[in-house]
């Protein structure tokens, strides 16, 4: 009994080490599209026992399919960039597309035919790594977005730059955002 107690700290140390190794392996595999990104907050979220990375609120891989829908591209890029379908889960897209007459303060309504076609494209190519039962209406509300853009990653001053204006303005920093390219090598934070 006494012996076991004495060994206890060692067991814990080994277990923690093993967890650390397992986690970095998982992260390296998961984040191979992010070129070695190591974000703060990952382990914290993972430690809570939720399924998957970011408590299950992870964007898809790829975020944008190779074959894109022409109507989606045309209609969804009128007022903002056409956000890649993989940035949100299918249920989020269903909700967004069902409320286009009141779309973040603007009427963005489509014909029924357009709506059907675009919804189907978005749902089909929605995040394939989202396991949480959540369905945010805004990309910026998702756990993966918050973790990747928290104050450890992005200085608060960046958001105040008029060239950035809003976190919805992906292309202010992600120069390939319009084509679904959010890779680390294609980030240019404006000064």
């Amino acid at each position: 009994m006494f012996k076991t107690h004495k060994k206890f700290p060692q067991i814990v140390a080994v277990a923690v080490l093993a967890m650390g190794v397992a986690m970095s392996a998982a992260q390296a595999e998961d984040d191979d599209d992010d070129e070695g990104y190591r974000g703060a907050g990952h382990s914290e979220q993972r430690g809570e026992g939720n399924s998957g990375k970011y408590g299950g609120e992870d964007r898809g891989k790829p975020v944008q399919p190779a074959q894109i829908n022409a109507i989606w591209k045309q209609e969804c890029s009128n007022c903002h960039i056409a956000y890649s379908p993989g940035l949100l889960p299918a249920e989020s897209w269903r909700k967004v597309m069902a409320g286009l007459d009141k779309h973040f303060g603007s009427d963005a309504s489509l014909t029924d035919q357009e709506n059907k076609e675009i919804t189907s494209f978005l749902v089909k190519n929605a995040s394939n790594r989202w396991s949480a039962p959540t369905a945010p209406l805004q990309i910026t509300e998702s756990a993966w977005f918050k973790s990747k853009h928290d104050s450890h990653e992005i200085a608060p001053s960046v958001w105040k730059n008029p060239k950035v204006k809003s976190p919805a303005n992906c292309q202010a920093c992600h120069i390939g955002a319009e084509n679904g390219d959010f890779s680390e090598r294609n980030i240019k934070i404006p000064r």
């Binding site: 009128n78 009427d107 309504s109």
Partner: protein
Amino acid sequence: MFRISSAIGLVSVAAMGLVTQPVFAQTPNEILSAIQKEAAGQSFSAARGESFYKAKHGKEWSCASCHTDNPAAPGKHAKSDKDIKPLAPSANAERFTDMAKVEKWFKRNCNDVLGRVCTPQEKGDVLSYLLTVKK
């Protein structure tokens, strides 16, 4: 067989040409006439259209909030900041050449600016104004 496939090839090349060429379905004046029919005899006024375009109508935005006070100049979406091509046909040949597109955007933008659909009179006035704007 060769003949059939080359004929199909020719037809599809021709069809592609039709699709990719910037052929406008209608002219802005034809669009105006169509709105005129809806307006059942009322006459349009460019001056009235100009004040309508520049004024707020009980909500946060006017037409000019995004399209600027000069419809021949490029605009910016009031919320997203995205560039908007000029609205006046003199500055942008694509404008008011597709009735379905015109209806779609009047519906959306009137809802944003007025909180309701626009009357044919209001639409006719605004288009009459836009047609007087020089580049």
